[in-house]
Amino acid sequence: MPSLFDAFALLYTTPIIPIALLGLTWGVIGGALPGISASITMALLLPLTYSLDPTSAIVLLASTYIGAEYGGSIPAILIRTPGTNSAAATVVDGYEMTRQGKAGEALGISLWSGTVGGLFGLIMLVVLTEPLSRLALAFTPMSYFGLGILGLTVIASMTAGSPLKGLAAAIIGMMVATVGTDPISGVTRLTFGSADLLSGIEPILVMVGLFAVSELMVQSGSTGAADMVVQSVRIRLPGLAMMKRLLRPQAIGSGIGTIEGVIPGAGGTIAAFLSYNEAKRWSKHPEEFGKGSPEGVAAPETANNTVASTALIPLLSFGIPGSNSAAVLLGGFLLHGLVPGPNLFMENAAVIQGLYVGSFIATIGQLLVGFMIMPVCLWLVNRPRPYLAGFIMALVLSGVFSLNSSLFDLSVVLVAGLVGYAMRIFGFPFLPAVLGVVLCPLVESSYRRSLVLASGDHGIFVEDRICLGLLIVAALFLAFSMLREFRAVAKSSESRQGTP
């Protein structure tokens, strides 16, 4: 395990502090723009990390994630429009406090609770990741095949909406990953004679297209800034008495955020709403919820900031991202030739140390940056959307070109954006598709290597206990989610037939 001393030595041997603060600032600004989620804010930055060293790149992306979780609460509290999905629960009491002239207090509670949740999540990340990754050291190619299949089925089954659509999205993602040169025989697959496709389609292009370009398309035609009424706000951190009152919802938010972060596909939004409900249930003043309760702001903000760290646990331990933002962070790892998992701890411990230290700086730093960046956020959310759309499109296309100096890549991103837009219309989730693109090479190569080891005998997948266990769990997940889906359809059909 990377020692604490080694980790903190990075503070003065690398530019980790300015990088973390830069990522944090970008994250707060991106999160504060309604419609620009944490994953989109990260995806916009992803191509720019190419020119950085791996540690700086990962710290920049992780800090952006942390910043975006706080940034999302700013428009949620001020203009009743959550900047990110996970800030939706903050709207209820946050905006009510603004209406009562307590916008500064609400933002202060959000900032303080976000810091508390972020620190707790970070401790959980450090404590849980390394032991879990040690477990993965016992993995054979067969186990990795089982893990890949389990990751795909769990994400497909547990992401919001229909598990069938999640499964279809995962398969489509895998189809995209089969384009290019076959890793074992060297035969070209599905390139249609195009030299640009020989090396395949990079996951980063799919991510930027799905998350950022499709969001621009969705927002196309919505004119003007929101009906802003707040022109200046001064953040006020809670006093000692208020801090004491917030301890209970913060504890609830931290606990739920930890559990939801570790579960793939759950994410900050579910954690925020669950925490809000539980905080209300356990509060001494439940009647205040919905009417501007400080606890109603603290619980969801603690939860979604905890998730920002704990969602990285399955990513770092097994290489399976549990949320869209973690998937974009995985893109950052892959862009620098790093594969998350146990080997990362042994071969690139400095990156992990950097991630921990950078996240710590970003979490603490948000108390300072949160104050300083507020005027910029207010100015930005007041800008007409058309300008923002123009600048975001320019950033996407400039950043993507900088990856390989390829105009073909720009076309791939735009086509991925179109596919993402269609997926949104028809209700297909993105995360399984991204995971399909990322995990397909692992699944295919592990499967084929296993068969080579066993001279073509499929019994090797049953003989490997870990693989067998993972495949059984995957099959159970799939069966139960399908059963649940068809039961729900049958039930809704019956209830509508009974309705006159």
Binding site: L48, S51, S162, L164, K165, A168, I171, I172, M174, M175, T178, D182, I184, S185, G186, V187, T188, R189, L190, F192, V213, M217, V218, Q219, S220, G221, S222, G224, P384, P386, Y387, A389, G390, F391, M393, A394, L397, S398, S402, S405, L407, L410, L414, G417, L418, I425, F426, G427, F428, C440, E444, Y447, R448, G456, M482, F486, S492, S493, R496, Q497
Partner: protein
Amino acid sequence: MNKDLISGIGLCLLALAYFAASRTIAVSTLEDDFGPHGLPNILAIALGLTGVLLAVRGYLAKPRLQSVAESAAPSPHGKPLRAVGLLAIGFAYVLIVDKLGYAVSIALLIAGVAWYEGLRLTLRLAAVAVGGAALFWLIFVRLLEVAQPTGLLF
């Protein structure tokens, strides 16, 4: 037809097209038992099955009657044709950037998208586009030293 039924049929068609494309993968003397076409074949079959299940689910689910308020509400996904128009501006940038160069093309992109999204073509818009292009050029070309297309003229 409901969205699930359309999605299911679309997935089946995609599976068929992918399967047909995977038949063109060459046979190699170096390939293992599974071969480079093994996974594409499995994926095509899996997507086809998923498409059939989705279509059946869509067929079984009775269409829900929309209330007047629901049917009058704007779509959360915006207007598809308008969204595709925005994408066309992106493709136009791809076509012109190696001819006009990065700085000019990115200014046109910013102005074009902002105009398409509802702003009028004014001096202010032009100034923002030129200023934005200068900012992007400074960040990418000067600060990050990332090569951007130079074009025939600039």
